[in-house]
Amino acid sequence: MPKSLISIHDFTKDEILHILDVAAEFEKNKSQKILDGKVVACIFFEPSTRTRLSFETASNRLGARVIGFSDTGNTSITKGETLKDTIKMVSNYVDIIVMRHPLEGAARYASEVASVPVVNAGDGANQHPSQTLLDLYTIKQTQNRLTDLTINMVGDLKYGRTVHSLLQAMSHFSPNYIFTAPDELKMPVEYKSFLEEKGIKYTETSQLTEHIDNTDILYMTRVQQERFSDPIEYEKVKDIYRLDAKMLTNVRSNMKILHPLPRINEIATNVDDTPYAYYFKQAENGMYVRMAIIAYLLGYK
């Protein structure tokens, strides 16, 4: 079975650091046609803008061609084709598959069926490892290191897959965590006991302003409506945190604000022009990291 990237656990600490180094190389030299003649499939069973466009751009910048679909509407899946058959067929055509699917575990299954590497571009609420790697890349870029940083995660810490994967990946680098969330959306016990086993410190609060001045990375998240079964529960918490430029007067000078995007109301637009806003650059970094992932899995870096 070729090497795939399905979950952030699939990469060792050394592999993670290697991807970050390769991504830095691509950021310096944005177009390297090392995959000339290769074909990348981007198959998206669920809508996406940033992830799909950055994977496609990453492939193009490496000189590869891209085929695929961005929703299942005009594919054989509407005729009832199984995931297995779709993946078998696509893997006969291409050199690597990038896929997003609404079902959890779909990418793992695809990697077992495919004859080429599979990159998970999101499987429901489960994993989104390229997001985690670009978060790590951005943290390293802004702080010049990954070790001993104070990471303040804000918003939906219960359902947010990006914070869960980031928490696990950063645990290689002795972080100090602050979890800012309302009671309804607190960090699940399983992740807290994971940190306790590893001897990593964390503090919990429901007040955004409480620890904001002692933070190196402020990782904001959106409260995702689609994760709530009860609309009243969602209304209660949807606008609970709203970061405004006024709150940033006493923050550390090295502090940077990250957000996986799209943002709705959780970061006011007046934050965009402060030296702390880094979320758009973070999204750009996604492209270099995805170039690194594709090149690495195909054995070119």
């Binding site: 979950s7 199984t82 995931l83 297995k84 699917h101 609404p102 079902l103 959890e104 575990g105 779909a106 793992r108 299954y109 499987d123 429901g124 609420a125 489960n126 994993q127 399983e190």
Partner: protein, 157 residues
């Protein structure tokens, strides 16, 4: 007359085969599903809701002329961890087996996550067993979510 003898009278002795005893009464039919006992031609006697000192109500299954591999019999540990397995030859117990929860559970348990791909496509489920203190959890190989034994559903085909 002791309790054990009483039970033996209620569920006929077999000449050769396997006796599964001390199955929690509520899980008796799950054991039958896991071992696919509804298929095949062996003579099977089943006792349910028998009195048991340790379990309150227990189930017992006697299968004639059938001997299980350890790997197969260990599957029932998920629903009957205290079950005793007696191998019978010529009406006598010739071997007692202790069961243990397997490290990997393939194709017998349903993942409790409704969004797991295994609940939507024809895929064999696969779990790694994690023992945390008193609790045993099954971690899904696909969706990476844990199913606890209280919510265990057996896939019966």
């Amino acid at each position: 007359m002791t309790k054990t003898e009483d039970n033996q009278l209620k569920v006929t002795a077999i000449k050769n085969g396997t006796v599964l005893d001390h199955i929690p009464a509520d899980n008796l039919f799950k054991v039958i599903d896991i071992l696919h006992l509804t298929q095949g031609n062996n003579q099977i006697t089943i006792g349910s809701n028998l009195d048991s000192k340790s379990l309150g109500k227990k189930g017992i299954i006697k299968i004639s002329e059938r001997f299980f591999e350890d790997e197969e019999i260990n599957k029932i540990a998920l629903v009957a961890p205290q079950a005793t397995i007696n191998i019978i030859k010529n009406y006598a117990v010739v071997e007692k087996k202790v069961i243990s929860i397997p490290e990997e559970v393939v194709g017998i348990v349903k993942c409790m996550n409704p969004m797991c791909v295994t609940n939507h496509q024809k895929i064999d489920t696969k779990f790694t067993t994690i023992v945390k203190g008193k609790e045993t959890l099954l971690l899904c190989h696909y969706c990476e979510k844990a199913t606890d034994l209280r919510n265990l559903k057996i896939i019966s085909d």
